[in-house]
């Protein structure tokens, strides 16, 4: 019971924390879905095992591990491409500043 209380409290706190930031509609919906799924699995742990059995995975814990791994890959790719886009934006800005202020011999 103790761990369930801790997990439920953590999930609710996380959803409230993320919700306090002004996110877009899609991001808010995703956070709510993940939060709802987390609460459901904490309250009813056997559900993960039943879903895993339906999908042909041995244990519920394994299923969650696979989903967690896939989610981590998506998040990593998302932030990698965002970082690359921001690098290009910074380069454009730095280039504009450099070209706007050339130092000529004798300056």
């Amino acid at each position: 019971m103790m761990i369930e209380t801790v997990l439920l409290g953590a999930i609710v706190a996380l959803v409230l924390y993320v919700g306090s930031h002004r996110l877009g509609g899609a991001a808010t919906a995703a956070v709510l879905c993940v939060g709802a799924a987390g609460i459901t699995l904490v309250i009813s742990p056997s559900l993960a095992t039943r879903v895993a059995a339906t999908l042909g995975v041995g244990r519920g814990a394994d299923l969650l591990l696979y989903f967690g791994f896939i989610a981590a890959l998506f998040v990593s790719a998302h932030f990698y491409f965002r970082l690359k886009r921001q690098e290009m934006q910074i380069a454009t800005l730095v280039r504009a500043l450099a070209v706007a202020g050339p130092i000529y011999p004798g300056d």
Partner: protein, 224 residues
């Protein structure tokens, strides 16, 4: 050669930039050094040597510095734009040969080739990497080039305007060739002499960077 601008990307090159520029100014009159966020006196020494200096306020990489310099040169009315390494490994006399090659034919780009010319003091491992890079680049671009990572190039202004360098780091060398292929720009290779000094070898690419270049190119190919 008042209508020709030489672009020299430079990062932490205070020990070599003065000598490199002195040798360049014996052959050309317009040089722009792009100081890529150096924390040493690269920019000051380049300005003292008579070059126009553009300063990146943060370090972006050689590809970004080249694009900055090329944009500036085109904006300054250049008919020809040359790229030239800051560490002094190229022979500036080759620039005139490259220009003659462009004026004599239909090519819009002249690419330096150390494998058609000479390389002095090249470490065997670097030779092996460069040979491998030639094979990979030929496969990717279908261009029959003999040297893919030679920093000495000459573009007509029309060609320089079409080539867009998006690779901020060292992968720009392969990207430039990919742009030449994509825009169907006619090119010619010109034999060059590349001198490897202890300084240039220290400043050169590590094997780790070579792997990073490959990853950058894969990202570029993926993201278009």
């Amino acid at each position: 050669m008042d209508d020709l601008w030489v672009v020299v990307p430079a990062y932490q090159e205070q020990d070599a930039i003065g000598t490199t520029l002195a040798s360049l100014f014996a052959h050309v009159s317009n040089v722009v050094v792009v100081d890529d966020g150096s924390s040493d006196a690269t920019g000051e020494r380049a300005a003292a040597a008579g070059a126009v200096v553009l300063r990146h306020c943060v370090n972006l990489g050689q590809g970004a510095a080249l694009q900055t310099g090329i944009s500036f040169a085109l904006g300054s009315g250049a008919r020809y734009v040359c790229t030239f390494d800051a560490d002094g490994q190229h022979d500036p006399a080759t620039i005139a040969e490259m220009r003659r090659a462009l004026e004599a034919g239909d090519a819009q780009v002249a690419l330096g080739s150390r494998f058609m010319g000479r390389s002095i003091g090249m470490p065997p491992i670097r030779r092996a990497f460069l040979r491998f890079a030639v094979v990979v680049t030929r496969l990717m671009t279908r261009l029959p080039v003999s040297d893919t990572h030679n920093g000495l190039r000459l573009f007509t202004s029309a060609a320089a305007k079409r080539i867009r360098i998006r690779q901020l780091g060292m992968a720009h060398a392969s990207e430039i060739l990919a742009e030449i292929a994509a825009h169907k720009l006619a090119f010619v290779e010109v034999p060059t002499t590349v001198r490897y000094t202890e300084y240039s070898k220290r400043k050169g690419q590590s094997l780790f960077n070579s792997v990073k270049i490959m990853l950058d190119l894969m990202y570029h190919a993926w993201s278009g």
